[in-house]
């Protein structure tokens, strides 16, 4: 029925055109702008420079540093959250009283605005008024803190920011794992228990393999989100001290909206995009092969 075909297209058109306008069009624009040298404060100097911007950014130590920082951030955050999230999900999957209450409390970090999370951690780690400093001192861990606070030193700043992400997003991970665990069939476990398998053996040889699709989905989502982190890190210290916590998004934002360098920032964001696409394609392909859609 041709009428049905038209209805289908008609219903999809608003959503599609909206997305094309906001996403595809700027996408193309970013590429175009990256071929120009253009600083908003010096518009008379704008000119076409081809691939110059790209060459420039790969020679820029700050950009390379941001790549490194982002890689470390994503790697640490992902591994920690996977392990912690799985652990919490296993715990919550057991028959316990007050599961609803625990769930509500444990879900809160992820629904709190990242702005508030960043602000809170900024307060916590403040050298003058932060609670963290005070209690660390009391515990005799003053070396960790000294007078600048945890965000005052490059070495501890990245760690602080990673901890912040773990606090904020582990709920997301355990939520998905919990749903995954609930969906697992009982028979394999009962059979294994009859055969004398220990708890750990059951976990390692049955639970984990069966959870593979869920793990992949979690890895996909968390990687994409951790890769583009901005809000929390910006609020806890604007990517400081110095360049220590300047992930890609932060560095690009600063280049575009503090230095007003459109050419360089669009080139950087395009590279960021390409990396994201490559990773997503690899992960999605793996996901499609593992799970029958």
């Amino acid at each position: 029925m041709s009428k049905e075909k038209y209805l289908g297209l008609f219903l999809v058109l608003p959503a599609l055109s909206w997305l094309v306008f906001i996403n595809l069009f700027p996408f193309v624009q970013t590429l175009r702008l990256s071929f120009y040298q253009w600083v908003l404060t010096k518009p008379w100097e704008r000119k076409f420079v081809g691939l110059n911007n790209y060459i420039k950014i790969f020679l820029d130590p700050l950009f390379l540093d941001s790549l490194k920082i982002t890689a470390i951030y994503v790697g640490c955050v992902l591994s920690a959250e996977l392990i912690l999230g799985l652990y919490i999900a296993v715990l919550l999957n057991r028959p316990i009283f007050g599961r609803g209450l625990f769930l509500t409390l444990l879900l809160l970090p992820m629904v709190i605005s990242p702005v508030v999370v960043g602000l809170f951690f900024r307060c916590m780690t403040s050298p003058d008024f932060g609670l963290l400093n005070y209690y660390l001192q009391k515990l005799g861990l003053y070396q960790l803190v000294l007078s600048e606070g945890m965000m005052g030193r490059a070495s501890t700043a990245l760690l602080t920011v990673i901890l912040m992400d773990i606090w904020e997003w582990t709920p997301f991970v355990f939520l998905l794992f919990l749903a995954g665990l609930r969906g697992l069939p009982n028979e394999p476990f009962e059979a294994a228990e009859l055969d004398g398998a220990s708890r750990w053996q059951r976990f390692k040889y049955i639970t984990l393999p069966l959870l593979k699709p869920v793990i992949l989905v979690v890895v996909l989502f968390r990687t994409m989100d951790a890769y583009r982190v901005f809000d929390t890190i910006w609020l806890i210290g604007k990517g400081g001290p110095g360049h220590a916590t300047s992930t890609l998004s932060i560095h690009i934002y600063r280049t575009a909206f503090y230095y007003w360098d459109i050419g360089t920032s669009t080139a950087m964001s395009y590279i960021m995009l390409i990396i994201a696409i490559i990773f997503s394609v690899i992960l999605l392909k793996y996901l499609y092969e593992t799970v029958r859609f």
């Binding site: 906001i22 996403n23 509500t104 999370v117 699709p213 583009r228 669009t266």
Partner: protein, 275 residues
Amino acid sequence: MDVKQREFNKVSTYIVLIIFSLIAVFPIYWTVQTSFKARFLTFAVPPKWIFHPTFENYYNLFTKSDVVSRLINSLIIGILSTLLSVIMGALAAFSFARLKIARKKDIMFWILSTRMIPPITTLIPLFLFFRAIGLYDTHFGVIMFYTAFNLPLVIWVMRSFIVEIPLEIEECAMIDGCSRWGVFWKITLPLTMPALFATGALSFILCWNEFMGALILTSHNAVTLPVLAMSFISAKGVVWGEMTAGATVIIVPVVIFVVLFQKYLVKGLSFGLLK
């Protein structure tokens, strides 16, 4: 496993969960608590845990800062974006789930892929573009961005729900003379109401909490609460009392919502994302 072992497991489970819950809740509790502290108490070291609450921070916040107008902005932008994305998204999801469209799989993959784009990539040219056509610092501009931001999620989750509805119900209705559109209105929509509600709520929360887009696309008029929160950190130093009061205002609606609808959220999120 003997009884003692089982008991130990149970107790340790509870202890660990309690510890984790405390860690999860503490920051929120601390932020809210600080907002009720008088100024001199905020800086007290060692920190005081028991004190007389005061509303002076909230009073200052609501009278001396722009919180009210920013609150209204956040509400308007959040509600309108959510409505737009839910309506357009539900229609599109129905199409993808039930109707024939040319190259459906490719389009759907492309829609999901938009979620992979780092927002900063879109925002730089969008900023320039909005400035050029006068949408910069307008409510509508931000709404446009947020709607596009939420659409992929709405479409993806709603499609999963609609696909789960047994075809027989729809086929029966069509045999009885119902059109495709009628099916959508009278069967699909009512059946997916809970999912629609959960997705809409999630979209609203995402809009309410969003920061980078609002930061880049606004300056005076359409500023939302999260951006305002940042402005409390100024060169003069941090205004702790008002800041935590502002932060509390930002998190209160979301916390209330989660407490009330925790069950639905859990179901909706996990179902939508895992399928």
